[in-house]
Point group: C2
DNA sequence: TAGATGCTTCGGTTATGATCGAACTATGAA
DNA sequence: TTCATAGTTCGATCATAACCGAAGCATCTA
C-alpha cells in the first residue's frame, strides 16, 4: 500500500495557501527575505517563519543568511518544474477567472529566472527549428551553429559551461502546455534580453513586459 | 499577489494521505472501483466516497459508472506526469527508507499503463539511439524505421494512430530523473511485452517483474 | 418479491495545524 | 551604549476537514 515516495507530504507542504503564495513568488527566481515573503503570503512574520521552516525542512526552498536578513530561494529547478506542472493542472480546471493580469502572464512571464509563456515557447521552438539547439533523448545541447549564435547574441557560452546547473533544460509551460527552455542558458537568454531593453520585469507580478521595439527584434531573431 | 492558477487547491487535494494513496494506486493506469480505492487508502467506503467526489470535482480523476460499480481513473496523462514530478521531489528528500520493494519499483514499474523506472528509460533512450523515435521540439514522433520496427515487434501502428491520445509522449521518471516513453505507444509497448511474457505485473504494487528470458530479450532489442 | 452489494448523504466527534499576541535573540545603525 | 529592525519561539485560540456510525438509494441476484 505504501509505495514509492511520500507524495502526500510535499503536496501538503505546497497545499497551504500561504506557502503556495510564497513558492509562487519565488518562481521569479529571485531570492526573497522572510519579511518579503510574509507580505507576499499575507501573513504575519511569525506565521511566515513557521512556514519557511517547514518548506526548508521539506527541501523545497533553501535559506541563506546574510547579515540580519535571511534570503530564501527555491531549492532546485526541479521544484520550479513541479510547481509549473501543478499550475498546468489547476489551469486545466475551469477555475479560470481570467483577469487582465492573467493574459499578460500567459504572453510572457518569468519562470525561475527564464522566459516562459507564449514567448518562451516561441523562443524554444525557434531555436530548435534553426538547429541552434538539438534534442538528444532527454538531453538538450547547443549545436556548433548555436554556439556561434549565442556568442553573437552577446552571451559567452564558456562562462556558463562552468556553472553547476545544466546548460539546457526543458520545462513544461503551464499556460501553453508545451516546452520552453530552462537551465543556465535559459537564464542567460532572459538576462541578455533585459540588458538589450527588449523586456523588463513587472514590479508586482511575474509578468514580463515587452518593449514594442523588443517584440519586433524578438520576432526577427526567433522567427518560426 | 494572486497570480496564475490556484496551485494550493490541487496540492491540498493531493496532500491528503488517503487521496494520495488513491492517486498512487491509479498510477497503474487501471480503473478501480470506489471500494477498491477505499481499501487502498485504508478508509471506510463513506470516507472514500467523499474523497473521490473531491478528486473528481478537482479534475484529477474521472468516474465512469458501470452497473452498480463506479470506476475511477486518472483524468489525464498530465495528472500522472505531475504525480511523478511530486514523487521526484519526495524521493529527493532523505525520506528514503529504501525498502526491498522500493528497489523493484526503481528497476521497473508501471506508470499510467506504460513502462517506467530504469528499464523504461533504457527503452526510451534505445529507441532514440536506434532512430526509431525522433524528438522534434517537444513532439516525439515515430520514424519510418520505427514504424517498421514496431510492426515487427507485433504492434499495429495504424490502430494506435486513430486513438485520441497522442502517440508518443515523454514522462519524467521520478526514480531516474530522466525521461521515459508514455502515450499510446508506450502503453502498447508494455502490453506487447506482457503478451510476450517478458514481464508481468506484481499483484500488490506497481512493480513490474521481468522474466529472466524476458530481460535477455529486452536487452537484445533495446540495447544502448 | 426479498436479500445482498455498491455507493452516497447526513450528523456529530475529534485531531490537526494555521494564526496571532507577546516575549525573546541577533544584527545593524546612531 | 541605545534604539530599531529582522527573525524566532512559545502559548492559546480557532477553523477546517477527516473520519466513522447510521441510514438511505440504486443496482444486481435468487
Amino acid at each position: 500500500m505504501k509505495e514509492g515516495p511520500d507524495i502526500a507530504g510535499i503536496a501538503t507542504l505546497i497545499g497551504d495557501p500561504a506557502r503556495a503564495n510564497m513558492l509562487t513568488a519565488l518562481m521569479s527566481g529571485k531570492a526573497l527575505t522572510a519579511t518579503e515573503l510574509a507580505a507576499e503570503a499575507g501573513v504575519t512574520a511569525q506565521t511566515a517563519s513557521g512556514h519557511l521552516a517547514k518548506l526548508s525542512q521539506g527541501g523545497l526552498v533553501q535559506a541563506r543568511k546574510q547579515g540580519r536578513h535571511k534570503y530564501f530561494a527555491l531549492a532546485h529547478a526541479d521544484v520550479a518544474a513541479t510547481l509549473e506542472a501543478l499550475m498546468g493542472l489547476a489551469a486545466g480546471q475551469l477555475r479560470t477567472r481570467t483577469g487582465p493580469r492573467d493574459a499578460a502572464l500567459r504572453e510572457a512571464r518569468v519562470c525561475y529566472n527564464h522566459l516562459a509563456g507564449r514567448r518562451g515557447v516561441q523562443m524554444f521552438e525557434s531555436l530548435l527549428a534553426q538547429e541552434y539547439l538539438h534534442e538528444d533523448g532527454a538531453v538538450i545541447r547547443l549545436t556548433a551553429a548555436g554556439d556561434g549564435f549565442i556568442r553573437e547574441f552577446g552571451i559567452d557560452p564558456d562562462v556558463m559551461q562552468s556553472a553547476r546547473a545544466p546548460l539546457c533544460r526543458s520545462c513544461l509551460d503551464w499556460s501553453e502546455r508545451r516546452t520552453h527552455l530552462a537551465g543556465s542558458l535559459g537564464r542567460a537568454m532572459l538576462t541578455r534580453m533585459e540588458g538589450l531593453d527588449w523586456v523588463r520585469r513587472d514590479k508586482d507580478s511575474r509578468a514580463l513586459l515587452f518593449d514594442p521595439d523588443g517584440v519586433a527584434a524578438f520576432d526577427r531573431v526567433f522567427h518560426i
